[in-house]
């Protein structure tokens, strides 16, 4: 069975303190690894798609990378507005399977 595991469950950072979130996956035939951001009381918002090992995508202070077994979301010099839950997901037979997410809090 395809599985997606995220760590840590929660992360508290000081503003400007860089860190990384991890997403491990087991899937037969990866058809993409997807990162989403979810703010409280809102639906998830798409951030990135990664298709093959070695691929990297960037958006502002976020950079997503992919290996054959896991993906990392690197946050460089985060700001309080980066506080959110970050979800990763993989496709399983035409539907997305999500991890449980990492809740990030960035303090000024």
């Amino acid at each position: 069975e395809d599985q997606v595991t995220q760590s840590p469950e929660a992360l508290r950072l000081q503003e400007g303190e860089s860190s990384s979130l991890n997403c491990s996956y087991t899937v037969s035939g990866l058809r993409g690894l997807f990162w989403y951001r979810q703010d409280p009381g809102k639906g998830p918002e798409f951030l990135f798609t990664l298709y093959s090992a070695g691929e990297e995508k960037e958006k502002e202070r976020l950079k997503a990378t992919l290996t054959k077994k896991e993906s990392f979301l690197h946050i460089t010099a985060p700001k309080p507005e980066d506080s959110a839950t970050y979800l990763c997901a993989v496709i399983d037979t035409d539907k997305l399977i999500f991890g449980t997410g990492t809740r990030l809090q960035v303090f000024p």
Binding site: G43, P44, E45, F46, A89, I91, D94, K95, F98, G99
Partner: protein
């Protein structure tokens, strides 16, 4: 432009009552997905539609749950004889086609069963 619209945004009901949750997808999106998110937890897949057919209903928790879709438009998720464990946020998402991981989510319907 209009995004995915869900209603009601909040619903409080008594145990044993039936509820209907509605999702209006982005115009032209043929794929529509329902997920459930319990408090502090991840997204749990329920069902998806390709047009008005549902190729995968594997995530529906029990026969109390059903969903339908009219053409490539509105979808309704119905929960019969609600139980307290049904309390959650029900999220709907749409995409131009199936097999893509870029979904557009609504803000969800928060269901509380007393």
């Amino acid at each position: 432009g209009a995004g995915v619209s869900q209603s009601p945004s909040n619903k409080v009901t008594e145990k044993g009552k039936d509820v209907e949750l509605r999702c209006d997808p982005i115009s032209g999106h043929t794929a529509l997905y329902w997920y459930r998110q319990r408090l502090g937890q991840g997204l749990e897949f329920l069902i998806y539609f390709q047009g008005n057919s549902a190729p995968d209903k594997s995530g529906l928790p029990s026969d109390r749950f059903s969903a339908e879709r009219t053409g490539e438009s509105v979808s309704t998720l119905t929960i019969q004889r609600t139980q307290q464990e049904d309390s959650a946020v029900y999220l709907c998402a749409s995409s131009p086609w199936t097999g893509t991981g870029e979904l557009f989510f609504g803000e969800g319907s928060r269901l509380t069963v007393l």
